[in-house]
């Protein structure tokens, strides 16, 4: 994949030093810190933090249990609502979810309770000797789950718990989805994503088949016929294009491609380094890309966004991380042309300055250029149409490009459910995908059991 960047030099720092750069951004709490922090929780009733959690974790309860030195009880409270609570504790933008809602999140109360960190503490230290959830008696039902990302895994686990057998079809070599391939390395370190999947599979009754890609060697029509229900947790597998000439030139790459490579690299010193780099976009992926390149040793990292700071998809917390990592944020500028050198490689980009005119974004007529060895596109992922090519899949009702679902995660095709980023429901967050998978599993279970009773 990094063919497009192979002409670039490698990082100046050695493998060990670089590994240090990609350790935990937020180090785990010590037992003492967890005790102090958990005692700050006011144990609210109808707690605002719970309302703010897309996966409805009973936060006051699990924190209370940490405070009571009952870590397994705390962990089970978390996992019963969110089986991927460990990765969510690390990657959730808590600053706009539970911790924003925390009643102590105001100047008079000093600061919100560190809910994400406490969640991680409970799960890291629960030390279960066996999987904490038991399966119900076998139902004899088989369900196909497409995609071993957060939505699919969450769905599979809940289904297995209800006694169903689940086959998960995954296109990539490893399970985990974005947790494995798409999160900044310093947010989800070492092999945590894989360990979490292993833990989840500990419930039994779940088989994962890799190398199975919907639209290639897998069709919804077949799955629908062969299984009692189907859950689609496809994610968003295509990258938005800038729509400029020379977008395919060496030196232009999707940020998600680079991040995937970076996460899989055993030796970070072998990655191509864009000493001067441009990241186009302003979401969390853009920030992840820029910060990681900076940590690899790039001297000049620029993030360019066509609108202002307030419109950025990345949270303030994320923007602060970028600034702390010497990433320059440029606003009100739109990519206008990829600039190439004599060898046809990227040498920079020309931008058109933008402004809001009567509420609409337009060019001011001014342009400027930034020199760069590489340009990373992070303007969003989009639906991979190829996956829904077969006749049944083509019937799925859509909201825009995404799959339409109701509150029970049912698609327009009976027996087919969907969740996570491939649907239009909720926010594009890991924790949201987990919730979707869980809700879909409950809906599938209810439907299948209804059929059993009726039969």
């Amino acid at each position: 994949m990094i063919d497009a960047l192979n002409h670039l030099p490698r990082p100046r720092a050695g493998a060990e030093e670089l590994a240090g750069q990609f350790g935990d951004l937020a180090p785990p709490l010590t037992a003492r810190q967890a005790a102090v922090e958990s005692s700050r929780c006011l144990y609210c009733f109808d707690a605002p933090c719970v309302n703010a959690c897309p996966s409805e974790i009973d936060i006051p309860s699990f924190i209370h249990r940490i405070s009571d030195e009952n870590l397994q009880g705390a962990a089970e409270r978390i996992l019963s609502a969110n089986i991927l609570g460990g990765s969510c504790a690390r990657v959730c933008p808590t600053e706009i979810l539970c911790e924003q809602a925390c009643v102590r999140n105001n100047a008079k109360e000093c600061a919100p309770v560190l809910i994400g960190q406490l969640q991680r503490y409970a799960l890291d230290n629960a030390a279960f000797s066996e999987h904490p959830f038991k399966r119900s008696p076998a139902s004899g039902k088989r369900i196909a789950v497409v995609g071993a990302g957060p939505a699919g895994l969450s769905c599979a686990h809940r289904l297995a718990m209800h006694g169903h057998d689940v086959v998960v079809f995954e296109a990539r070599e490893k399970s985990g989805g974005l947790n494995e391939y798409g999160i900044a390395r310093y947010k989800l370190v070492d092999d945590y994503a894989q360990r979490e999947v292993e833990f989840l599979l500990g419930i039994g009754g779940i088989e994962i088949r890799h190398g199975q890609r919907l639209g290639d060697n897998l069709s919804l029509t077949d799955l629908h016929q062969q299984y009692d229900s189907v859950f689609l947790g496809l994610g968003l597998n295509a990258v938005r294009q800038l729509g400029l000439p020379d977008e395919q030139a060496p030196g232009v790459l999707a940020a998600t491609d680079y991040i995937r490579e970076l996460r899989q690299a055993d030796d970070l010193s072998q990655l191509p380094l864009a000493d001067r780099c441009l990241v186009i976009g302003a979401g969390n992926t853009a920030i992840d890309m820029a910060v990681q390149m900076s940590r690899l040793g790039a001297r000049d990292v620029n993030l360019v966004y066509r609108r202002g700071h307030a419109d950025m998809g990345a949270t303030e917390h994320e923007q602060d991380i970028a600034k702390a990592n010497q990433v320059r944020l440029h606003t009100w500028a739109r990519p206008d042309a990829v600039l190439l050198d004599d060898d046809g490689r990227v040498r920079g980009m020309r931008f058109a300055r933008t402004a809001l005119v009567e509420g609409r974004l337009g060019d001011t007529g001014e342009t400027f250029e930034l020199a760069a060895d590489a340009i990373f596109k992070a303007i969003g992922q989009c639906f991979d149409e190829h996956s829904l090519g077969d006749p049944l899949a083509a019937q799925l009702a859509r909201d825009g490009e995404r799959i339409r679902v109701d509150a029970g995660m049912r698609t327009s095709v009976p027996g087919v459910y969907a969740g996570g980023d491939c649907t239009a429901l909720g926010q594009d967050l890991t924790v949201q995908a987990v919730q979707h998978g869980k809700l879909a599993a409950e809906a599938i279970h209810a439907q299948l059991m209804l059929n059993v009773e009726a039969a």
Binding site: L42, C44, F45, D46, P48, A52, R104, E109
Partner: protein, 424 residues
């Protein structure tokens, strides 16, 4: 600055803060450090007959709040484990070196006249300012017929006090045990015996916690434990009540009281004084923080007194006694209702769930447009119990507002609803 000096039962002290008889006053080294730090007086750790007591190893345990905040300490230490001779020698020297400080000697010998007759002249010869009779030690010593074993029998208290007054010219302070049903009985006995003052409370029988792995209580000695004496801030409410009981008892009115029990700062001390104490003793707070805390205590108390125009302790001593009465004399027509300051409310819902589950269903919860909940008092249901105010984590957010009921003072002895009311 206000004058903190006192004369308590004839004993002069530059300030009302004394260290209680306990490990901090075990020997000259500690006591000198305490005086250097500013303590107004000390009660030297209890002297007994030779041979000296022998202590076990592993002596204290604690009841912890969140974050290892110590709410109370439990100890199983006995009286001094040093010889009488050494203690008397050190007391003599320290009193000589620190003539302006109060030095009281705590005593505990068998409940026999000869024993007291023997030790009292020796103590008086040291130059000490007074003696305190340890009738309160609840662990170990009672098994030998001393300490609380004496303090729990009013007749013994009276008898020993009388011996002390007979064989010693020093002021006699009788230290009372709280491990009894009615503290007034012991105080009255001390008073009858001629005591110059009482001091209270000694420690309360306690077991702080159990090691669930080893199935043995703390503190652990080998694989056993025993009950100890409880002290520290957790016992303050019990001590305040016992002090008030004595302060407002007509039979002991005017008997000087030295307050002991969970005093950790100037405010605690002021509360004991407000309930009638002329001096206070501190131990646990010093054991947790060192002797330096006395500076903060003096400073805080003096500033508070200045702000309120009290030039001496006597100016406000006992002012809360008259407002402490029996339940039956409380005004049944008095009414308060909770009021929530919506600006200060952080929306934690604790007041609501406490009232809803365990009280009078007087705080409503309303779902707001932003998904959070708002809380308001249902005035008709509120009985003014204060529970919501207690559960609220925000100071001054919930106020208990007195209501104008238009009804006059009426107590239970006068209330027509009282079937046993006194005839009017």
């Amino acid at each position: 600055m206000a004058d903190l000096s006192i004369v308590f039962a004839g004993i002069k002290s530059p300030n009302p803060f004394w260290l209680a008889s306990a490990p901090p006053t075990d020997k000259a080294y500690n006591v000198v450090r305490a005086f250097e730090a500013g303590w107004g007086g000390v009660v030297w750790k209890t002297l007994g007959e030779d041979p000296a007591a022998v202590n076990v190893s592993s002596r204290y345990s604690a009841h912890f709040g969140p974050n290892r905040q110590v709410q109370g300490i439990n100890n199983i230490e006995l009286i001094t484990d040093r010889s009488l001779e050494i203690n008397l020698r050190e007391i003599t020297q320290v009193k000589k070196d620190w003539p302006d400080r109060a030095l009281i000697v705590s005593l505990m010998v068998p409940c026999e006249e000869e024993s007291w007759k023997f030790i009292l002249p020796l103590v008086e010869a040291t130059g000490a300012d007074g003696i305190e009779l340890n009738f309160g030690c609840p662990h170990g010593m009672p098994e030998r017929g001393m300490g609380a074993a004496v303090g729990q029998v009013p007749e013994y208290v009276e008898q020993v006090t009388r011996w002390c007054k007979t064989y010693c010219s020093l002021p006699v302070i009788v230290k009372l045990t709280p491990n009894i049903t009615d503290i007034r009985q012991s105080a009255r006995a001390a008073h009858r015996g001629g005591a110059d003052a009482v001091s209270l409370i000694n420690t309360i029988n306690s077991i702080t916690s159990v090691d669930l792995d080893r199935m043995v209580a703390h503190p652990i000695v080998g694989d056993q434990s025993t009950h100890g004496g409880y002290c520290g801030s957790a016992v303050k409410p019990i001590a305040l009540n016992m002090v008030a009981e004595i302060a407002r008892d007509p039979q002991t009115r005017g008997l000087p009281i030295c307050g002991i029990g969970g005093i950790g700062n100037w405010r605690d001390a002021a509360e004991f004084v407000a309930l009638g104490c002329g001096a206070v003793q501190v131990c646990t707070a010093a054991m947790l923080h060192g002797f330096r805390i006395v500076e903060d205590m003096q400073d805080g108390l003096a500033r508070w007194m200045d702000q309120h125009g009290h030039q001496s302790l006597e100016a406000f001593r006992g002012l809360a006694v008259g407002h402490t009465t029996d339940w039956k004399y409380l005004d049944i027509n008095y009414k308060v209702i909770a009021k929530i300051d919506q600006e200060a409310c952080i929306g934690c819902g604790r007041c609501h769930i406490a009232c809803e589950d365990t009280s009078h269903q007087a705080i409503g919860s309303t779902l707001q447009a932003d998904g959070t909940h708002g809380y308001s008092v249902i005035e008709e249901e509120c009985v003014g119990c204060n529970l919501c105010q207690i559960t609220c984590p925000v100071e001054d957010c919930i106020e208990m507002v007195p209501q104008d009921t238009g009804k006059p003072y009426l107590n239970w002895t006068q209330d027509p609803r009282n079937p046993y009311r006194e005839a009017s």
